[in-house]
């Protein structure tokens, strides 16, 4: 059994991950709907997960994939907390536009 990376090349995975990661960054910066911003962060985490798996294959090592589990757990926890915060903001403000959240400044 050959390493599948022989055909694709680890670089391409890296580039894909980087681009995906950057899209996530872009989303965080571009959108002001907090939910979409969260989603963008999920994209970032996913990009990393993908790279983990690719590296796991690259090293032929299970640890990378195990790490993805943790990363997922973290993502889940973050989303839960994030959404809870969002909900309470929505309750108070009736909106989740992060541009409205500029009370703290200066």
């Amino acid at each position: 059994m050959t390493n599948i990376l022989n055909e694709i090349g680890i670089e391409n995975y890296i580039f894909l991950s980087v681009i995906l990661f950057c899209i996530g960054v872009f989303g965080v910066l571009y959108r002001r709907n907090a939910i979409i911003v969260f989603m963008s962060i999920e994209i970032m985490l996913n990009a990393v997960n993908l790279l983990f798996v690719a590296f796991s294959t690259y090293h032929q090592d299970a640890q990378g994939q195990v790490f993805v589990f943790f990363s997922m757990a973290v993502a889940a926890a973050e989303v839960a907390v994030g959404l809870a915060i969002l909900v309470s903001i929505y309750r108070n403000l009736g909106s989740i536009d992060i541009n409205n959240l500029k009370n703290l400044k200066g």
């Binding site: 694709i8 709907n33 993502a75």
Partner: protein, 179 residues
């Protein structure tokens, strides 16, 4: 060096990779650009599925399944649920100030270019990718690694989740004093 896929002589795997990559990136973009949050969420689900496809391509079936279950099944449902809860599906964002968009695009381009350039600049990996032939990503192996070597982090992840749980309860619980 960046390998421009040679579509004429590309192997199946390469074509699949390119296809999946294309889907992933496009849907991710669409998820961000889409005005309707529901659409965003759905695009994101597709994106996640395509990532799962990547996992399958890399022959990590278990992870792919877990990925689908956790992300598409749990996280995105949570998102959708919240969107529904807040009744955001119709909400259209007010036109964003130009400066914000410009900033976003600039930083996107910047970080993209910088990171890609960094990786391009690096030496290409010489030689063959190792293939030990050993099983390293079946459920069995993963389970062993996870519960032997990574037992502590595994347990600790439970603390993480517990913390998140307490946190969410804390944030959502109504107190008696509140009206």
């Amino acid at each position: 060096m960046i390998h421009i896929p040679d579509f004429a002589h590309a192997s199946t795997v390469q074509i699949i990779f390119c296809f999946l990559a294309f889907i992933t990136v496009i849907t991710a973009f669409l998820a961000i650009f889409s005005r309707n949050p529901i659409h965003s969420a759905l695009y994101l689900v597709i994106s996640f599925f395509s990532i799962a496809g990547h996992y399958l391509l890399l022959n990590s079936q278990f992870l792919a399944i877990v990925h689908v279950i956790v992300y598409s099944g749990a996280i995105m449902i949570l998102f959708l649920f919240t969107i529904m809860l807040m009744n955001l599906n119709k909400q259209n964002e007010v036109h964003k100030p130009r400066i914000t968009r410009l900033g976003a695009i600039v930083s996107f381009c910047l970080i993209c270019i910088v990171l890609i350039l960094v990786f391009i600049n690096s030496k290409p990996i010489a030689g063959e990718y190792i293939a030990t032939g050993e099983d390293y990503q079946s459920i069995k192996v993963l389970g062993r690694v996870l519960l032997n070597e990574y037992m502590v982090p595994f347990e600790f992840a439970s603390i993480l989740l517990l913390t998140a749980m307490i946190g969410v309860v804390l944030l959502s619980k109504k107190e008696k004093t509140e009206k």
